[in-house]
Symmetry: C2
Subunit: 261 residues, 2 copies
DNA sequence: GCCCCTGCCTATGTATACATTTCCTGCGGT
DNA sequence: ACCGCAGGAAATGTATACATAGGCAGGGGC
């Protein structure tokens, strides 16, 4: 049964904020502000970032700014040159595709380990809950979908699989893969909001969710891994569509502003 | 044909120094010193690290020390508590096994992509060179092995596969996975130096190297991935041996000092 | 006797002054 | 006209002083 307190649209789709939550206050807000500006395309890919300029722009001193820059470097949004500061990262379409592929590979490993090692009764219950919650996001009609509810449920599902793998190392690695904004499981949901074909494709995505859960419960490791990998290909398909057919969507998908050529 | 300038034992097995090469001077040496001390077991797992104490210990000010701490956090050797500094990371045997498994999964993905996408003539030549160089590390007798030459060739091989995947994203993920000292492809080589059975097991490992290369050249993606994963299991087997049968080796494998319980 | 509150102490967070390196520019020579 | 060297401006690297918050201990009250 689905949780009855299922919120509908209480939050917009949020991309992973990384581990910045634990940073000091000024550093944290600086990292958030800078991240939003970079992901939003406020800087050109490859543009040099100088500390003094950024510090002035953000109204803080260089010390917390450097923490923020280090965090953003961890996330892959900026790159440090040998000794001369940072530049905004540049990605190709192939990079984005590979990042999604890697997220699929790693989440596939999480699903496989959960299946191979087995999950307890509580884990099975939580899995059912999330799946029901996702089902509840679909309305009676073919195009009926509460996008916010789906996005929330989708994030929960992908995080739950990580939990079920019961491996801090897997979590660490997957979270690193997801840190690139366009590699997040919900990266393309916001851009798809108004595209009917995409909304319908989420019916198939939900079927994959159920197949993954079934495989985990049945301890079918290979199946769990394979379906989870295929599940990530949905994002690659969407990427292809955004880049080749509907470039106007580019600025609605987080991080695509950094894609060049 | 192997390169004739093959060095024999010019360097000890070095674990990946991460991306710290590009850090500022004091920060870099501080990171290196601290890393060596942590990996070497100078601190107890879970021990709190205070900035002033470490700064005094290393003879630098807190500013570059904080850069070093951030780097070590990236590498997973220390963890930051919500607002109160850092503690030395604690790992379980399962964590180490999972880290090796993940390295195998990701290197397997690199091998698969190299196979699927194909490599050029130069890539094939470099592959042959490295394999011949590895062969040359073995002497005529069953136990004959130039361990330093093997370690160097092994590192080259694993790095070459990354190159052949031709994917910066794959490289990024694999390097992150290898950053944990015990997850490096050569982590257990040093500890095995004097164990005859281990030295012989490297004959099988070299056969796997050849199989992986063959699969990449033949564009057999599934085979390349599967063999590379299995290849990583060698390290897991060695881990098992070190932890259960020959604990005296623990302190010779980098990072194992941080394993508790 | 136990719990809570308060105050101090020590830790990290921040700002800024200073050192050092690097890159760019301009001038001179070839 | 082009190459090279030198000088200066501006960047990052470092140290330190100060701000602030959090934790621990001690004392007082219930």
């Amino acid at each position: 049964m689905a949780t009855t307190d299922a919120p509908s649209g209480e939050t917009l789709i949020m991309h992973d904020r990384g581990a910045a939550d634990r940073l000091p206050l000024q550093s944290q807000s600086a990292a958030m502000a800078l991240r939003d500006q970079i992901v939003g395309g406020a800087f050109a890919p490859g543009e040099r970032l100088t500390e003094v300029r950024l510090a002035a722009r953000l109204g803080i001193s260089r010390t917390p700014l450097r923490s923020a820059l280090a965090e953003l470097e961890r996330e892959g949004l900026i790159e440090r040159l040998s000794t001369t500061g940072f530049v905004v990262a540049r990605f190709t379409a192939a990079d984005v595709a590979d990042a999604i592929e890697l997220r699929g590979v790693l989440e596939g490993t999480a699903a496989r380990l959960a299946a191979e090692r087995g999950i307890d009764a509580d884990g099975a219950r939580r899995l059912d809950e999330v799946l029901d919650r996702l089902d509840a996001a679909f309305g009676p009609g073919p195009g009926d979908l509460d996008m916010d509810a789906y996005a929330a449920g989708n994030a929960l599902f992908h995080d739950l699989v990580l939990d079920l793998s019961a491996s801090p190392m897997v979590r660490r690695q997957v979270e690193h893969a997801r840190r690139l904004p366009f590699a997040s499981p919900s990266a393309f949901l916001e851009g798809q909001r108004d595209v009917a074909a995409f909304r319908r494709s989420l019916v198939a995505a939900q079927a994959q969710h159920r197949a993954i859960a079934e495989a985990i419960l049945g301890r079918e490791g290979a199946r769990a891994e394979a379906v989870m990998r295929e599940h990530a290909r949905v994002a690659r398909t969407n990427l292809q569509h955004v880049l080749t057919r509907d470039p106007s969507l580019r600025r609605r998908v987080p991080g695509l502003a950094l894609v060049v050529a």
